[in-house]
């Protein structure tokens, strides 16, 4: 430890700058949380538990002069803030997206690294990065103009036969804007995140570990299953959580392809839906014209909820990773 007198001016500046930089992320999260909570408080008072159980979310009659007051908070006549539709939509689309993206990314990358020559691998990796760089509004446009209609005409009708086993797959399939289309588009957006991480993880699997299996006459498939996958399991979990975070918060692409359902829960996987993020974007313009100001509070409450969900999934993920990596896996310990 050096005492203050030993420090040069440069040291002091560096120390100050690093202290600021070190506290900045925490500070920003804290500031966000405080502002969101303060802005959301009126909506929390107005809605109470109905926020989590109600499916009717309406800003009320913004042109009327009559207001209603509940728990001391005034809102336009007819206003109700029940967010269940959006909560369900957020979880459903993001989880379906992961169910699609995880096997495709992990399987695809495993196939690439095990069976494709190295030079071609690098070329294909460039495309993966390009996929990650496509703006989400482009995904949304493509989803509604090309992907959704094609799926609704040619693919979804075939899926309805699964409806005999899993009722959610029963038709009607609609025009291609809805839960499934949103999930598929989200899935495609999440693939680069999980795939590029998986690729890095595979490079980290010790050659010695794989040689143990090869030297016992095991096939590539067996080596992958017995050695490689267990080594990267924790990392894939972490990458999936990263992808889930992206899917939870993705706004504009979902807004375009989700069909924007208000006030109704999806009755099958083709139904229109809305997520928390897409709803905030869709309603913000109207909310700003609310003369009582309560619509903005309601949207802030939605924002707060999304923040909490994101943080909780993040913490839960860390917990899972910690538990998994202290088990049968060599991750994080010397071998």
């Amino acid at each position: 430890m050096s005492t203050a007198s030993e420090l040069t001016t440069g040291d002091r500046i560096l120390r100050a700058v690093s202290a600021v930089a070190g506290f900045l992320p925490g500070g920003i999260v804290g500031f966000f949380a405080v502002v969101m909570i303060l802005t959301a408080i009126p909506a929390i008072a107005f809605s109470g538990l109905n926020f989590f159980t109600g499916t009717t979310f309406t800003l009320g009659n913004l042109y009327a002069v009559t207001t209603i007051t509940h728990n001391g908070v005034t809102a336009p006549h007819g206003a109700a803030y029940g967010a269940l539709t959006f909560i369900v939509g957020t979880f459903a689309t993001s989880i379906f997206a992961l169910v699609l993206a995880i096997p495709v990314s992990v399987g695809g990358v495993l196939m690439l690294t095990e069976w494709v020559p190295r030079r071609l691998q690098n070329t294909l990796a460039v495309f993966l990065e390009l996929l990650a760089g496509i703006p989400s509004v482009v995904f949304g446009l493509w989803g509604i103009v090309v992907f959704g209609p094609i799926m609704a005409q040619h693919v979804y009708p075939a899926l309805t036969s699964i409806g005999n086993v899993i009722p959610w797959f029963k038709g009607p399939v609609g025009a291609g804007e809805g839960l499934l289309t949103a999930s598929l588009v989200l899935g495609i957006m999440v693939i680069p995140i999980i795939a590029s991480t998986t690729r890095e993880l595979l490079r980290g699997v010790p050659v010695l570990a794989k040689e143990g299996a090869i030297a016992l006459g095991m096939t590539r498939y067996e080596t992958t299953r017995v050695v490689t996958l267990p080594y990267i399991r924790t990392g894939i979990l972490a990458a999936s959580l990263l992808g889930w975070g992206r899917a939870l918060g993705e706004t504009i692409a979902v807004l375009i392809v989700s069909g924007n359902a208000l006030n109704v829960l999806p009755h099958n996987i083709y139904s229109p839906t809305s997520t928390i993020a897409s709803t905030i974007a869709a309603l913000l313009d109207a909310a700003l014209t609310d003369f009582t100001g309560s619509a903005v509070h309601a949207l802030a409450y939605l924002g707060l909820l999304l923040l909490v969900i994101s943080l909780l999934t993040n913490f839960a993920g860390r917990l899972v990773i910690k538990r998994v990596s202290t088990g049968a896996l060599p991750v994080g310990r010397g071998i």
Partner: protein
């Protein structure tokens, strides 16, 4: 004669002539990385059910020769192998050689323990199961007998479902030995298997190897001349990718034919 610090009696090794009962025949073997030869035109025979130590200074190609025998170089980008290796009726480098059968019959133990990231029991059973060698309801017995054989049973019998990475380095290497023996190999390729282990475990593994000689042809790469002296029947001495001398252990350590061998044994080179 200059046996140097190793001028101790060679214990049980009294053989004077090289064994004529050949298990492995290596013919004009060269291993190349690009144009550079790591192993240069080596021809050798390894005796049946004996322990042959492969010794030599760092970079002499010991491990490279060993890994050529079960075709591990196939999996290293940039490596190419020329020449022939035959193990019994297996022509190792023939285009229609069955690698699965080859590696079932030729086991390998590495410098550092590399257990699978699976339970202790599965470490033993996965390979025999893959090769269809585990009788129905016999997996538990197989597991126990192999762990008994390597002297690990008492240490792990209460945690067969646990992680092998909780074991000590020496125990992990014993587990890998049991895993190798589970396939009942004819040949065992050992690549400095004790170089990372404590003297006690090293001694334990050496005594196991001496016992295994009854049923397995053993090739052991070692940096440790004293170890070669303790356990080997024959010694192969390589330098810079070329074969210098192949002799019985007794002869190599006490009356080597080549000047470089005598210098190596006495510690003046290497």
């Amino acid at each position: 004669m200059s046996a140097g610090y190793l001028s101790v009696p060679a214990g049980a090794v009294h053989q004077q002539e090289l064994s004529t009962d050949t298990a492995i025949r290596v013919n004009d073997l060269s291993v190349l990385v690009g144009q550079k030869a790591l192993v240069d035109n080596v021809s050798l025979t390894f005796p049946h059910k004996r322990i042959t130590a492969i010794v030599g200074p760092t970079g002499s190609g010991k491990t490279t020769v060993l890994r050529a025998i079960n075709r591990m170089h196939d999996h290293t980008p940039g490596f190419s192998v020329k020449g022939d290796v035959t193990i019994g009726d297996i022509d190792v480098y023939s285009p229609d050689a069955n690698l699965r059968v080859l590696r079932r019959r030729v086991g390998m133990l590495f410098q550092r323990a590399n257990p699978f990231p699976q339970s202790i029991q599965d470490n033993i059973l996965i390979a025999p199961k893959a090769h269809g060698m585990v009788p129905k309801n016999g997996s538990r017995d197989l597991c126990e007998s192999l762990l008994q054989e390597v002297g690990l049973w008492n240490a792990v019998k209460d945690r067969l479902g646990g992680s092998p990475f909780m074991l000590s380095g020496g125990q992990q290497q014993l587990l890998c030995l049991a895993r190798m023996l589970a396939l009942q190999p004819d040949v065992a390729l050992l690549d400095e298997p004790t170089s990372a282990l404590d003297p006690g475990t090293t001694e334990h593994i050496e005594s196991l190897l001496k016992g295994l000689r009854e049923k397995v042809t053993i090739l052991i790469v070692t940096h440790n001349l004293a170890q070669a002296l303790r356990i080997s029947d024959e010694v192969v001495f390589l330098m810079a990718g070329k074969l210098v001398e192949h002799a019985t252990a007794n002869k190599f350590f006490h009356d080597a034919a080549d000047e470089r061998s005598r210098e190596y044994v006495s510690g003046r080179i290497g």
